[in-house]
Point group: C2
Chain length 340, copies 2
DNA sequence: TCATAAAATGCCACCGGTGGCACACATGTT
DNA sequence: AACATGTGTGCCACCGGTGGCATTTTATGA
């Protein structure tokens, strides 16, 4: 177990001061070509890489990026982590995860402390925690770099990456109408989420444009869980006439709908079309497989990571306009053209 | 944006040297009760918490725990993260995630560098990466604390947390036999995984004890994916006589079996019982819901976290024997008593 | 009451880097 | 030749803690 080489070793071996080595490490321009080369050679030979802690202590940096979330969707989290990490590791950062409860009273102080304790350089906040403006404000007040992932533009461009759920569900509405459906029911998510409202309006507004209004009894507020989907589906499917389509705010609830339809002997998609949102792991596996919307989560997370790094390193945000990604429709078996 | 208080602030305000404050922070015993109280009060008032980087630099510690894995199962990862974090945060550590490719040639150096760069205090390695003994050896050589999560005891007790898959599948075998089944087929996982072998032997050995041998053509090596499950199921279900039960190495493949059975018009569980392993998110949602095995992943991860902290802090491992957890059977709709 | 041990506290160097500034030297300008 | 300018490099303090040891205070025993 050899000890890790330090900047002093490099300095000694290459016969310069550690300040100059530091310059080479950090790619400063004012180092003589010959000197730089010599130092670099020693660095390579030693396999030296600067200690992040020491570096951080001196420069008030940690090379740590925090991921704050209160999201039960493990798949989503996993994709985000991978997306962020692909950028992080390339830029020399590590990812520190911080799940939390964004309804607890200490939510904000908890997050702030998390950042403070470890001198996290910047955080990426995931929905739904990202919808908490108080958190954003607190981060700002503490001078903490952050980027939010969300479904609506609720912040400056540098601080947000948006998934255009509204547009996606607008597409969904158009698609369903193109199948000949006229009677569409909706299981929305909890209304206090921006994303829910966006998705809901994405459908209803587009339908309205197409000359269809969705009557209030055809819109039910679900809780995004499978169980809630079951409950809402029961309410909708006993209505007469029975709706031709149920669009759920996520795949969890759509799966619940499928379950209830199966129980009630309603054929999907023969008698009822069902659509979800997320493209969950099992969206393609349920029977019938689920028509849904897929968000490019990995790409979105990568984008968020690029933004946070840009913020941290105070670099001009090259593609400042590039902060919106559009989810796309995935058409499977659970939706079908109206036959009769 | 107020600046973060430092140990110097605390020292000044409470009229002692920073060394004494340091003692209070670290719970040293040799501090006068009155002094300690006074200092603690100042700490509380200021909301001071020691800077991990400075602390780490001085004490060669980072208060960072790394999580190394190459596992596609997002749910599993998520549970592990939560389990580890519940302990971490309590003990003042943060969790740094490090997914990797444990078949790449640079796998080991990649992991070592990860630890070195950030002075990670210790790592928890998840299966299947945890099965790589070369990694364990490398970690050891570099003096890096590690704990592996695995399905077999392949390391010292301090360095491993084991899920007793063998026992669980032994239970499964007994359960299936108790239902009256005599003709059991198995879709195993890739044989080069310890866990696969354990699970396979868990069944076959127990069946052997009960006087049943599983003929070779009834054991197929799958690849743990849904698609692979489908493929293997096709092979098994055209055999005559058709097996009464298919036990798959995981729920993914079991779901594949369900799919094929459905396609072939074979009633599950009427004509075929199916069992999986993992208790995936959708194990309870597929139709019929899946009999499977649930590992107490969160608890296991918490245990691993406790072990790694004990290793880091060089504390006597209190419950040194407590390194095995036993998964348990979850019986659902996909298995049923033989009727005819 | 005083020597002596034990407990409480302080001092200073150090961990491994970076920032600010001084300085040496080469070059360009008048 | 004298001076400004720019480039390359080194020195030293400092970031916020901890370790080792010296020193002071308090408790203990004879």
């Amino acid at each position: 177990m050899e000890k890790k080489p330090t900047i002093n070793d490099v300095a000694r071996l290459s016969g310069v001061s550690k300040r100059t080595v530091s310059r080479v490490i950090n790619g400063a321009t004012n180092v003589g070509a010959a000197t730089r080369e010599r130092i670099q050679k020693v660095i390579d030979e030693l396999g030296f890489s600067p200690d992040k802690q020491a570096r951080g202590l001196a420069a008030s940096r940690s090379y740590l990026i925090g991921l704050i979330y209160d999201n039960p969707d493990a798949l989503y989290i996993d994709q985000v982590q991978r997306g962020v990490l692909s950028v992080c590791s390339e830029k020399g950062y590590e990812l520190v995860v911080h799940p939390c409860h964004y309804r607890g009273d200490d939510f904000i102080s908890n997050c702030i402390n998390f950042v403070r304790r470890s001198n996290i350089d910047g955080v990426i906040v995931l929905p739904p925690a990202s919808e908490a403006n108080e958190l954003a404000k607190a981060l700002q007040n503490h001078g903490i770099n952050y980027v939010r992932m969300a479904s609506v533009k609720i912040d400056e461009q540098e601080n947000i990456v948006v998934s255009d759920d509204r547009a996606a569900l607008s597409d969904m509405a158009r698609y369903l109408v193109s199948l000949g459906h006229k009677d569409i029911a909706i299981i929305s998510g909890p209304k206090h989420y921006y994303s829910t409202v966006e998705r809901l309006e994405g459908i209803t507004h587009t339908l309205a444009e197409l000359g269809m209004t969705v009557p209030p009894e055809r819109i039910i507020e679900g809780k995004n869980s499978y169980e809630s989907g079951i409950e809402c589906a029961r309410t909708l499917l006993i209505q007469t006439p029975r709706p031709q389509v149920i669009v759920a705010n996520n795949d969890e609830m759509a799966a619940g709908v499928l379950k209830v339809a199966h129980e009630m002997g309603i054929d999907v998609p023969g008698e009822l079309s069902v659509a979800g949102f997320d493209d969950n792991l099992f969206a393609s596996r349920v029977i019938p497989s689920l028509t849904t919307v897929q968000r490019p989560v990995v790409a979105m997370a990568g984008l968020a990571a690029k933004k946070i790094v840009a913020l941290i390193e105070n670099k001009p945000t090259e593609d400042v306009d590039d902060y919106i990604v559009k989810p796309h429709l995935i058409i499977r078996e659970s939706t079908r053209k109206v036959t009769k």
